[in-house]
């Protein structure tokens, strides 16, 4: 086992990156904030996958590489593996973590269906507004791990887009779409 630090260190950093970029640096540009946070994750994923694959033979196909992310890579980061992997065999993979650590202390901010579909009702309802901003804050937290996965795969020679779905907290699903 290599060197370790308290989990609070990484939690604090992550919270602070999100809050600095989304409320201080780019307060009125949520997309730019999101892109920057993702870019930081990408950098980290790229470097980590470089380190963790140093002594391995090259992966023979995409599935092998994705399995590496689900097992070894995830274990290094979160001390557990991805719980479920699905694929449509056409370049889309869904990596499901039933208890994603970085969301384990986040309350469930998901909008109920009605308020999500009717923006006007949403505007009239302050509680719903608070929920919306909580949902936005939570989704901001996910750009970092999405960036990590994209960076890790890109280092393995697999360009892709990664998004996250948290409609069923604390389960978090990362959707990887490999670019043809």
């Amino acid at each position: 086992m290599g060197r370790e630090v308290s989990e609070s260190c990484i939690d604090s950093l992550l919270t602070e990156i999100v809050s600095s970029y989304s409320t201080r640096f780019y307060a009125n540009k949520p997309e730019l904030a999101a892109r920057t946070i993702e870019a930081i994750g990408y950098q980290v994923g790229h470097q980590l996958s470089e380190r963790y694959t140093m002594d391995r033979p090259r992966f023979s196909d995409h599935l092998e590489a994705i399995k590496f992310i689900c097992k070894d890579f995830w274990s290094e980061l979160f001390k557990k593996q991805i719980d479920n992997l699905k694929t449509n065999h056409r370049g889309t993979f869904v990596l499901q973590d039933n208890r994603f650590r970085w969301l384990s202390r986040v309350s469930n901010p998901i909008l109920d269906e009605a308020s999500a579909k009717d923006p006007e009702a949403l505007a009239q309802n302050k509680a719903a507004q608070a929920e919306t901003s909580a949902a936005q804050a939570t989704s901001m937290l996910l750009y970092f791990p999405c960036g990590i996965i994209r960076g890790a795969l890109s280092n393995l020679g697999i360009p892709c887009a990664v998004s996250a779905d948290i409609s069923n907290l604390p389960t978090c699903s990362f959707v990887v779409r490999i670019k043809a």
């Binding site: 290599g2 630090v5 308290s6 989990e7 980590l48 290094e76």
Partner: protein, 185 residues
């Protein structure tokens, strides 16, 4: 009776821990991103300090809750506790305190091992960057939450070729705590 204070080692052994590489590389990526976004090294130093401060004012709660530290009698004891317990329970490293001034208001916290700088080398273009400035911000923020206003500067920095990291802590003002109630109520 209040439970006895716990040692930094005991706390660190019991907290959830993560792979330090993830932490180190994440911090490195933040610094790199700030350098790209802000361009000016001084501005990066300022933002790292601000981020640290924001973290410090939150982290103090966890520190107090897990360490069972009660009120420190003076700044000397506070500095010792930060070095021996604080650094250990979060970063897993021990720091030492030295170079006190006669008044007992200025001292140095010395760090010989620092997970933030594993794999780090500063290029010439980053002269003037205090890479670990987030740490001084954390300490400043945490101390402010226990009524001590401090000024913290870097005296030695291993990334600049020194043999250790040395943080100079200067106590500017200590606001006495006021209780809204009497002790016996």
């Amino acid at each position: 009776m209040a439970p006895p204070p716990r040692s930094g080692d005991a706390i660190f052994a019991n907290v959830d821990r993560v792979n330090a590489e993830l932490f180190t590389l994440t911090y490195g990526a933040i610094v790199r991103q700030l350098l790209t976004d802000l361009e000016e090294v001084d501005e990066v130093n300022k933002q790292l300090d601000q981020m640290g401060y924001n973290i410090g004012i939150r982290l103090i709660d966890e520190f107090l809750a897990k360490s069972n530290i009660s009120t420190c009698v003076d700044f000397k004891e506070t500095a010792e506790v930060i070095a021996k317990v604080g650094f250990k329970m979060f970063l897993g490293v021990t720091a030492s305190v030295s170079n006190w001034d006669p008044e007992g208001t200025t001292c140095s916290i010395i760090l010989e091992d620092n997970p933030l700088v594993d794999f780090v080398e500063l290029p010439d273009t980053c002269q003037g960057l205090y890479y670990c400035n987030i740490l001084s911000g954390v300490v400043r923020g945490a101390l402010e939450m226990v009524s001590m206003k401090t000024e913290i500067t870097w005296v030695r920095d291993m990334l600049r070729g020194d043999d250790a990291f040395e943080l100079r802590l200067k106590l500017l003002k200590q606001v006495p705590e006021e209780y809204p109630y009497k002790d016996d109520e």
